[in-house]
Amino acid sequence: MHLIKLIFRNALRHKLRTGLTMLGLVVAILSFGLLQTVVDAWYAGAEGAAPNRLITRNAVSLMVPLPVHYRDKIRSVDGVQAVAAANWFAGVYQDPKNFFPQFAVEPASEYRIPDAQFRAFTRDRKGALVGRKLAQTYGFRIGDMVPIKGTIFPGTWTFVVRGIYDGADAKTDTSQFFFHWDYLNETVKSRTPILANKIGIFIVQIADVDRAAEISEEIDALFKNSPAETLTETEKAFQIGFVKQTEAILIAVRLVSFLVIFIILAVMANTMAMTARERLGEYATLKALGFGGGFLAAMIFGESLAIALTGSLVGVVCTFPVAAWFAAQMGTLFPVFEVSRETVMLQSACAVAVGAAAALLPARRAIRVRIVDGLRAIG
């Protein structure tokens, strides 16, 4: 009880110094949390991938399409439940800065969407399904006409919003725009026949997750030595492949996030070192009265941890509204921008590590100081 009282009163002895240190901790822990969330957002697609889905694409590059007739061959592989085609559309809505992913797909929705809306989508060949986040960003409502200028597929394409989907969980990307692959293919046949009957990727639904590798090999074996060999992998591996292209940036972001923690550790260690230097006489007095090194260490570690944990707690709490604001500012750049439980745990672990590490040398000094030397520091 007396130890706790001493810890808190000591922590508040220099209110300005403690306040500024805590402010630094708030900023550091908040920055760390935000940067970690950015990294998480980058991996969100991979995290949200279904384990029972494979992606088949051209082995040369994702930019090189596959013939549409591959679909039937893939469907014939044992263990394959369904195959759907999808093409990356890469269109521009009003202005190039309004980026959001658009896909021409075969309707097989796994998203949470009212039946009536899904039926309306399947009935309308120009119909589109938009994610909740995308709809909120651009104000899309059911029945709205959305003109999109194609960059891969020339011309202006006008779609009608027939449904707004939600994700099954917070990690589901709801910033996408889906429309009928048939509509794309039929229109392309008349406008640019060379692009017709070409598929960007096949989405392959399998029955047994444990057979994913075996089925992938079987699919690729079907097209071995053909003009368009395939590469089949799990949806997660496919998504990670995208992330890998920007891995250097992610490593830099991660490094910066830990650098921020290292800097606040230096600030905190300096605060505690100043504190211990000023109180050397008090430590010597307590030792003279018979208090042991353990008591002094507990006092110093307790104070350091109290400051670190209080500042960090505010930092963690602030991370949520700041992340929400940041996500709103980023629009659909980060489809999923949620502060994860792992990030909060990492923030907490950093807080404890900073508090403990900052107290290490001051506690050692307090324990080792000779009483006569410490008493000389008074007066």
Binding site: R9, L289, G290, I371, V372, L375, G379
Partner: protein, 227 residues
């Protein structure tokens, strides 16, 4: 009667810049139980070092040093800490109170190392603060007290665990004349009424006059006593 403090051939030196500087040489001194002695001498004569050795916060190079029959030169650091908590009451020149604790809490500190209950501790602290005349200042922080009052809190802290000896290093060195007189009178009372053995280092001849005997140190050597 066996002296409470027995010192024979006690020597102490410090190492400064690779050189060994003798501070105390072959000190012989016995202090009787209930005595009040004043240690005087010029700066650097070794009087504070001798006090520190007797109090068990420093260790001699050689010689015999027994306090209450215990040879404290052979005790380990942790044994010495326990011994000090039980047998030594400290009165410092600058009071050495913990600024974030009240007068009550400062006086209570040594009792936290005992097995006394909260209620028992409270009774002891109230009695000690009452004895030094600060019953009405218990909840005051050191910064809210005068120098004399702070020293009285320090004295309450020194006597709270009923130690064998009280060591005082320039207890009036930071006080005005009136406060110094009050402190010296209080120490006399502790000696007379409670029979406390007091060893006081002082520069002040007036303060030393309150002691039963005065020991003088010069260049680390104990001179013949005056009284």
């Amino acid at each position: 009667m066996q002296p409470i403090v027995e010192i024979h051939d006690l020597s102490k030196s410090y190492r400064r810049g690779g050189q060994i500087v003798p501070v105390l040489s072959d000190i012989d001194l016995d202090i009787a139980r209930g005595d009040f002695i004043g240690l005087m001498g010029p700066s650097g004569s070794g009087k504070s070092t001798l006090l520190n050795l007797i109090a068990g916060i420093d260790k001699p190079d050689s010689g015999i040093l027994r306090v209450g029959g215990v040879d404290i030169t052979v005790l380990s650091e942790s044994q010495l800490a326990d011994w000090r908590a039980e047998h030594v009451g400290f009165i410092f020149q600058f009071y050495n109170l913990i600024p974030v604790l009240t007068a009550f809490e400062n006086a209570e500190l040594p009792l936290l190392l005992t097995s006394l209950s909260t209620r028992e501790r409270r009774q002891h602290v109230e009695a000690a603060l009452n004895m030094v005349g600060l019953a009405d200042r218990m909840e005051h922080y050191p910064s809210e007290l005068s120098g004399g009052q702070q020293q009285r809190v320090a004295i309450a802290r020194a006597i709270i665990s009923d130690p064998t000896i009280l060591v005082a290093d320039e207890p009036t060195g930071d006080l005005d004349r009136v406060s110094a007189e009050e402190i010296l009178t209080l120490m006399e009372r502790l000696n007379d009424e409670l029979g406390k053995t007091i060893i006081m280092v002082t520069h002040d001849p007036h303060a030393a006059q309150r002691a039963h005997s005065i020991k003088r140190l010069d260049k680390g050597v104990l001179q013949d006593g005056e009284r």
